[in-house]
Amino acid sequence: MAMFIARRMGVMLLTMLCLTFIVFFLVTLEPNLRKLSISQTNMRATDQMIESWLVKNGYRDNFFVQYGRWLGVAPKVPNIDPATGEASQRFSFCNDPIEPTYSGVFQGDFGCSTKFRKPVSERLWPALANTGVLMFWVMVVMVPTALVIGVLAGMREGSATDRSLSVVSITSTSTPEYISGVLFTVFFASYLGWLNGSAASATNPNIGVNFSNFTLPVMTMAVYGMGYIARMTRASMAEVMTAQYIRTARLKGMSFRSVVLKHALRNALIAPFTVIMLQFPWLLTGVVIVEVMFRYQGFGWLLVEAAGNNDIDLLLSCSLISVLIVLSTQLISDIGYAYLNPRIRVS
């Protein structure tokens, strides 16, 4: 088991290295650098000004050196005035060092956000915390609902309950966040006027998360993922219900209710566990849509801001975090599956 986890960790690190390298390559393409330079100097900057800004801030250095600086295996250098040879901070708003220092991701320095004019870590962690709150409530709503629907549908395969619940879950998997968000907002916020159509106030420390501003984003996100988990639970439950030991339990005179609760449920919930874990990458896209739609300043909102303004360090950190989430949930799902099902041996 330890060997298995160690090997997976190794692959994970390699994947993260490759992915950040690809992201780094894409964000430092010429048009993207020009866009960054224009937004950092001014809208009417001449080609010469753009070029000199890029040279001054080290964006014209060797590609691998730049990537190494971000990683922390090459020293970050200050801006050197070519005339006087005097060193100055690269980005004064991030309090960058004046001496060359090894300060990259390996040292825990995520760099400097050019869009927000702050160190990345100052924006990243609060945003992640906000998204964590959102995800928590989404999970609290989505998982139990999906499991109940799946178990109810799967325990009597082919019954009327099964048919109608299946239609419900297929409909929910066909409703992406940008559709359910629009439909819910129109119905609950505009037509009925019960709920707040924006979650912007939820990040305001004076107001915080409450029922009125948080229900719509949570519902919107929960709907799309729910159907899929419910379908998987149904399939797993239906399969368990045909097993020999369920028939034995029924034949010895146990009630249907206790057969389902005591014998079937635990075995039927192994497969959905994996599915729930593997939902995280999907939820990430959902987080982006929902946070933009309901103006909630979380990780997804930050990612869109970073991508829209080609904020190199912020975008790299966002990619790193999202890839880390995707890969670690995959690992947890594999380990958890082996742990829940003694018949499966990893390695």
Binding site: L26, I170, S174, P176, Y178, I179, V182, L183, V288
Partner: protein
């Protein structure tokens, strides 16, 4: 003139779709008449979900084909004299009807929704087809040979799958990237796969019959070369096929995002089917590995692959909507559903009517595909 009432709007919309109803009715009559001879497709008509799924998919397919007949106005036509954000059922000064109202630029919402189906109907199935070509061509050897081939290809597939889709699109579908060679290089690589696939397919089967093979390879080379040159270099010698740079960009990004999923499924199926007796028999006969993969394993994996294709077209439709919603790739005035939803959701609290038709259209089409996939899965399990 006073706007139309609710029932008049409903009947008006239903009447506008008359050519589509006729086409769908014809399709159903023909399908029922020849149900026995249509194998899997015929059996779809035996179940409720299958029937509804076929109906919805056929409905949108015919709507896209006959958009010019269904839509009363053009998708980009601006009716300044009618006004912006008019309610459904508005009647213009010259008696034109705006069944579902006008949007914030005074364009007809209903016509835009109808024309929006064309974009989805072209890109989603075509991108899925290409993704399948890539996934099948790489997934078969990964599952069959195993070992290092499998390790390398699986690592690459997992690499792409570890990217959150939205981040991938933000990096790959930007106006900036169209100035570089990245989309062209990617399409140059990806669009080679169908040519490789068909060339290998015919070669492995007919290499003993050089005359037939020459014809087949010639057709593949001409057709493939024609499509390749028109898609990748936008240089169609006949001027029939053309893709704008932004369309190519979207197309390639969607193929790139969905081919690893296909790869994983094909690889899994190949691992399973490789252990069957008929594969062992073919190996004993001395057949080559590519013959076994393409002519023994692939046909036997078709059931799950057809189901997956249905689901994947639906998923691609959702992806296209996401792209439109974030304003990536598609032109801002494009009538596709995602862009329309984005446009309308900015004024959602004031005017809900421009957002609902594209939202319901997209949802119903994906629902149709999912129902179809569900029915197909059930029917193919009966075999």
């Amino acid at each position: 003139m006073p706007p139309l009432g609710t029932s008049e709007i409903v009947f008006g919309v239903l009447a506008a779709f008359t050519p589509v109803w006729i086409a769908v009715a014809l399709l159903f009559v023909v399908s029922f008449a020849f149900q026995r001879r249509l194998s899997l497709y015929g059996r779809l008509f035996e179940t409720g979900p299958g029937l509804v799924g076929v109906f919805i998919c056929a409905f949108w397919l015919f709507t896209a084909l006959m958009a010019d007949l269904v839509a009363p106005h053009g998708p980009l036509e601006v009716f300044a004299s009618v006004g912006k954000n008019k309610v459904p059922g508005t009647i213009g000064p010259e008696g034109e009807m705006f069944l579902l109202g006008t949007d914030k630029l005074a364009r007809d919402v209903f016509s835009r929704m109808v024309y929006g189906s064309q974009i989805v109907m072209v890109i989603a199935p075509a991108a899925t087809l290409f993704a399948f070509m890539v996934g099948v061509t790489l997934g078969l050897p990964a599952g069959y040979f195993g070992g290092r081939t499998d390790t390398v290809l699986s690592f690459l597939a997992n690499l792409v799958l570890a990217f959150p889709v939205i981040l991938l699109f933000y990096l790959l579908v930007t106006p900036g990237i169209r100035e570089t060679a990245v989309p062209q290089v990617m399409s140059g690589v990806f669009f080679l796969f169908p040519i490789i696939f068909f060339a290998t397919l015919f070669y492995t089967r007919f290499k003993e019959r050089p005359q037939l093979l020459a014809i087949q390879l010639g057709v593949v080379a001409i057709l493939g070369g024609w499509i390749y040159s028109s898609l990748v270099f936008n240089a169609d010698p006949f001027g029939l096929l053309s893709l704008e740079p932004n369309e190519l960009n979207i197309f390639v990004a969607v193929v790139f995002a969905s081919s690893p999923g296909v790869f994983r499924i094909v690889r899994g199926l190949t691992l399973d089917i490789s252990t069957r007796d008929y594969v062992a028999a073919a190996q004993t006969r001395g057949e080559g590995p590519w013959y076994i993969m393409l002519w023994e394993i692939l046909p036997n994996a078709r059931g799950p692959l057809i189901v997956d294709a249905c689901l994947r077209i639906g998923y691609t439709t959702i992806l296209l909507g996401t792209l439109g919603y974030f304003g990536l790739g598609l032109i801002p005035e494009s009538p596709d559903w995602g862009t329309s939803i984005k446009e309308a959701s900015q004024l959602l609290r004031l005017y809900a009517h421009p957002a609902l038709p594209p939202a319901i259209a997209l949802m119903s089409f994906v629902l149709g595909l999912n129902l179809l996939a569900d029915a197909l899965r059930e029917q193919s399990l009966k075999d």
